[in-house]
Amino acid sequence: MSVLTPQAGTQAIYRVNPVAKLGATAIISIALVLSIDWVSAAVALAFESVLFLFAGLSLRRFALRTLPVTIAAFFSAVTILLYGEPSGQSYLRLLLINVSDGSIELAIATLLRVLAIGLPAVVLFVTVDPTDLADGLAQVLHLPSRFVLGALGGLRLVGLFIDDWKSLELARRARGIADRGRLRRFAGQAFALLVLSIRRGSKLATAMEARGFGGSNRRSWARESRFGAAEVALLLIGVVVAAVSVTVSVATGSWNFIVGG
């Protein structure tokens, strides 16, 4: 999801209502955070790998967009490997580090789990256009339009904030105060950006109000947010992935409830 330019693509997934993508992601996530075994995560990940073929992404773009999740998964796995609760045979001991059978298993489970939850979320949201999401939230989920459209309008300002930040940085060098006190300067710059952004925000609010936003009229919608067969299908896929993962995990005796576990 890019905040500045609209998302567009030819594949079917671009036309699926973002609310359904949100729902499918939520269903899988909720099922997977209940346990920390490796079986449920592995089954979910296997399913998802097949589904990613229809995600509307080239391999390169897939790798690029999911890189943060991949890195996060790797580092959390390494952390668990070194410091996770030890059990079984121990292979390496150094200060607080203890690599054991237990921590190895836990590390694999963590790696798979972060990927199984993170990848579909990223992949589905790459093809989400913020405007379509807002339409869905307001028309399908009936969230207050004032809130949804206010947030959507605010996205327009993100690009300006980035430019502002760069100018603030250059200006501080030009004023002779960029040699020392990096931390203090950063704080000052952040505050200046805050002031500028509040000002820009209130200007945008005025512009929106001037076009009748927030009035007493009942609002209509220029774009219809549909929730039809494709959306239901995506939700069902989410349910199937979640259900099969949990079932296999329970059947093989690996399921362990994270709460009270």
């Binding site: 330019t5 105060i177 512009a207 209509s220």
Partner: protein, 511 residues
């Protein structure tokens, strides 16, 4: 490209009301349910945080279909009035009002959609990411049926001449296009009263003409009432049939037909800061002093991001006592060139050789420390707010002095004359962010002079300034040049180039 004339000799370039583009009037979008009337009786408004009234005792009647140019010194409450008519001043939390202000006999808040407002800043008015959606936004708020909305969107985009696909990203529009987009968004609501609050103040000369022509074209097919605020009178002169000048203390200073009013009040208006045709500010005298070379470039290429070159092959030199203007359309790397000369951005290739002012440092200004830079090159940014770092005008001026370790006595010796010279004396304890546009600009110039740099780099120093501030700035820069400073001005302002520039580097758009 040559800049379109903004001060046409009588009867040229400005489009006529009848047909701005020689096309048939567009009634599908501009045409509304008739022009709205405006009536004010003893009206006044005071912001909640201020003790003085922004406007008071205003009696005014504007008939349906009148085209009004609203003038007045800065601080006379022009924007406040227009915001009130648009119904966006806010309720009692925002301030107090007195008297009556009616559109078609009703309160503006209850006549939503009757008045449409276009504001000054192109970037802060874009609500949605796609052009079509953005135009539709106002219609949605009015609760119109879907097919009616899209009919109106197409009509409004056509009326303002914005011929891009409905899905075109709004972030890729130029300033002039964004303002026309804002205009289309308002038109689609079919207002009886069109309110324009300095819609061209932030635009380059092309953008100004673009927007002015779009408005002309829209009005030619509509009987909507127009109220436009703008201190560059010549832009709108041919389009309006009435000029109202607000008095700073409250009430109306002058009111009449454009040509009558210009004859009677032209000189007084010009003195108060309005750009009046035939009353152009006097160019300052220069001694013609010219000194040694300060900075030169060799094979300079500039860019903001590593690997992205905006402009290459820049060869120039700046001598003491001479002013170099960098001009050209938006997006050609003017500002980036200026900031690179100023030692703020690393050259993408080639070099900036500032050995003329280096005083023992390496020749490349980008290698200098921040506090070494301030005594050699002073940079004034396009947006003064980007460079303010303290809470009072006096502290702001002391920043540079502090950075190079001047004592309090010397700092005061340098600051006090600048405060006086740039009319900031009474504002020494004011917060820089609360100053008016002209005051902010004067302060931002003053702050860089405290450390006495030999070279000044100014990014759009006269952008959006009224005629009075313009005059003062130009006179001040002329003095600095005569005293031996070098000046680089990145600018769209053809007047500034005419009056001040000794050399011009024109960056053309890539073909």
């Amino acid at each position: 490209m040559t800049a379109p004339p903004l001060t046409p000799p009588e009867g040229t370039a400005a489009p006529t009301r009848a047909a701005a583009f020689g096309r048939a009037p567009v009634s599908a979008s501009g045409g509304s349910a008739g022009g709205a009337s405006v009536e004010l009786t003893g009206w006044g408004w005071r912001h909640a945080t201020r003790s003085a009234w922004a406007l008071r005792g205003l009696d005014l009647r504007i008939e349906p279909g009148e085209r009004v140019l609203l003038l007045g010194a800065s601080g006379a409450g022009k924007s406040t009035l227009v915001h009130a008519l648009a119904g966006v001043l806010g309720g009692p939390d925002e301030g107090d009002s007195e008297g009556r202000l009616l559109i078609d006999g009703a309160e503006p808040e209850s006549a939503r959609g009757r008045a449409g407002l276009v504001l000054q800043d192109p970037d802060s008015q874009v609500v949605l990411a796609r052009v079509g959606d953005d135009v539709a936004f106002g219609c949605e708020n009015l609760g119109l049926p879907r097919d009616e909305i899209w009919r109106r969107v197409a009509g409004a985009l056509d009326a303002v001449g914005l011929n891009v696909p409905l899905r075109h990203p709004t972030s890729e529009l130029s300033g002039g296009q964004k303002q026309r987009l804002a205009l289309a968004g308002v038109l689609a609501m079919r207002p009886g009263l069109l309110l324009l609050d300095e819609p061209t103040a932030n635009l380059d000369p092309d953008g100004v003409v673009e927007v002015r022509d779009a408005v002309a074209r829209v009005l030619s097919g509509s009987d909507a009432t127009l109220i436009v605020i703008e201190h560059r009178v010549d832009v709108w002169w041919k389009l309006v049939d009435r000029v109202i000048v607000l008095a700073p203390g409250g009430g109306v200073l002058a009111d009449g037909r454009p040509d009558d009013l210009l004859g009677r009040e032209g000189a007084a208006l010009a003195a108060s800061g309005v750009w009046v045709p035939g009353h152009a500010p006097e160019p300052p005298g220069r001694t013609g002093f010219s000194g040694p070379e300060l900075v030169r470039t060799e094979g300079l290429a500039v860019g903001r991001r590593p690997g992205v070159v905006l402009r290459s092959g820049i060869e120039l030199r700046i001598d003491a006592g001479r002013c170099l203007a960098i001009t050209g359309p938006n997006g050609t790397g003017k500002s980036t060139t200026g900031l690179t000369l100023a030692g703020l951005i690393r050259p993408a290739a080639g070099e900036v050789d500032a050995s003329g002012i280096a005083d023992g440092l390496a020749a490349a200004p980008f290698s200098w420390k921040s506090r070494e830079l301030v005594t050699r090159i002073g940079t004034v940014f396009q947006d003064p707010e980007h460079q303010f770092v303290t809470g009072t005008v006096r502290d702001e001026l002391a920043v540079g002095a502090l950075a190079i370790g001047l004592d309090a006595a010397e700092t005061a010796r340098r600051i006090d004359p600048l405060l006086e010279r740039l009319r900031l004396g009474g504002l020494a304890n004011a917060n820089p962010f609360t100053l008016s546009g002209g005051e902010k600009r004067r302060l931002s110039v003053a702050t860089v002079l405290v450390t006495r740099p030999r070279l000044l780099v100014l990014d759009e120093p006269t952008f959006g300034q009224d005629a009075r501030t313009w005059r003062e700035l130009v006179a001040f820069l002329a003095e600095l040049l005569d005293a031996g400073s070098g000046v680089v001005a990145v600018t769209h302002d053809t007047r500034l180039v005419d009056v001040l520039a000794d050399d011009e580097l024109r960056l053309e758009a890539h073909s």
